[in-house]
Amino acid sequence: MALAATKFASTPEAFSPALIARIAERARDTRAVAIAGIFHAGSGHPGGSLSCADILATLYAAELNIDAANPMDAARDRFILSKGHAAPALYGIWAAMGLMKQSEAVRLRKLGSRAQGHPHVLDMPLAETSTGSLGQGFSVAIGMALGLRLQKNAARVYALLGDGEIQEGEVWEGAMCAAHHRLSNLCTIIDYNKLQSDDRNANIMGLEPLADKWRAFGWHVQEIDGHDITALLAALKTAADCGDQPSVIIAHTIKGKGVSYMEDVPQWHGSVKLTRAQADDAFAALGLPATTLDAMLEGAMEVRHG
């Protein structure tokens, strides 16, 4: 195997404070790039980008078998952001991991940018597929898991879904299908932030009892705090080793997590236009100075004019 990266989660070093600190730092950087991008774009979905930053950081920094020197190696694990509107966070973690230039990640939603409003695989191959229409990324992940297994490729497939997203029937078609085909190489994570576009899930279309639904559809189910990096690491490790079932991790999260005034406020789902003051406050909440935002924006301007 040509890949250098190791699955930290499967080694004793996995849960070291150093690893957790590294992941937390990546998560913070992910959030910062996401906010900078949304501010720079004048549109985009902050709430759902922030809620999944810890999940993305844990995946990329510790779980996915992706080598920055050769990211498209055939043996790489696949990650699909099925809730494609959280693209700013995906670009954020890529930037944090050196898989995308930070300046490109911040130059979000601009004509000609590789950081399209929703992930587009032809612009960023590591997106694995193009998303933005809820439900489809999950099905694509299932197809990949089937295709990899047929070709005896040991890579694993991960898909991150929104809670609102799982109202799509396509997701339950896929859930039934993955269980039927015993896709143990598939791990689904649900960013269970309790909010969707217009309101709380409970008001739009209630999802509970959510774990029961997945269990009844034949999945191995774990429920964790999606902002607890240790819990994420442990759950991903368990998921990778749970027999012949596909595995779902229901990650309880807070929409807007990390930017206090956005937390659990439906209106910050997006697509919103941030004011400079709001962006500054967001950076402050993340523990970053406004100058960091300035630097990021400057980088993005250079891409545009470079």
Binding site: S43, H120, G169, S197, D198, I204, V272, K273
Partner: protein
Amino acid sequence: MANAAPQLIGTSGDSLREAFGKALAAAAQEKTNVVVLDADIAGGTGVHHFRKAHPDRFFQFGIAEQNMMAAAGGMAATGLVPVVTTFAVFCLRAVEQARLSIAYTKRNVKIVASHPGLDVGPDGGSAQSLEDMAAFRAIPGMTVISPADPTEMALATRAVLDFKGPVYMRTGRSPSENVYGPDHRFEIGKGHVLRDGSDVTLIACGVEVARARDAAILLEAEGISARVVNMATIKPIDVALVARCARETGAIVTAEDHNIYGGLGSAVAEALAQTHPCPVEFVGVNDVFGESGEPQELAEHFRLTAPFIAAAARRAMARKRA
């Protein structure tokens, strides 16, 4: 400051979706059998106005467009007039539901789709529907409408509620200029001559109507007299008007924020082939997907703006002389 409410993009201002949402809420005052179906996107489609005015007649289906579309057929069967709303691109995952449970059953359902075409802007190619008019035009008995501006949108909203039968109507996301004054009239199935002319006819729908008008102004400066037709009803197309334009001007340009295949351009080409064949140039998205950008930028990039329509007019005119 920071914890003020977020600015939602375009939910205020004169977008077609806002014009639709307001007109719908107003019309529903007296039309008490109108109900609205939403798939967690009311803020984007304009029906938040209806929800506020008529909460009891607003039905939330969650992010589940197939069930919503077919359920609309069931609601219509009980005597209601359901208005099903989502983004145009998500209507494409319920085409068969619209076909069977609405059109085949002749249900009085209005499918109103926001966010069509490049006008969607920064969300990018995945969200920019370039196929919806083609897909819905092919469904037997489905009327397809794409109004030009907020004024016409309000009139069309009333007209489709008065009309009995399944309708697919496009609104639009971006703030949109009014090409019409308050005395405009809208009739389903009738094109409207926005500006007369004798050398070439520019037939447009939706956001392209204003651009076609601008193209006519550009052409006028060169001494070319371009007629501008707003073909807000794509199906049934106003065959008589299309034929008359061909007869009187001898060359036609179509302009739409849609793939060049299957939409307005096709409908016009079909009408001409059956009546008065003449050269046509098609302005639209050239069988590629869109991308992120501001609507106006994208319109330029994908060659939908007035200068491109004017250039197409010159090409069409050159062919008529050939």
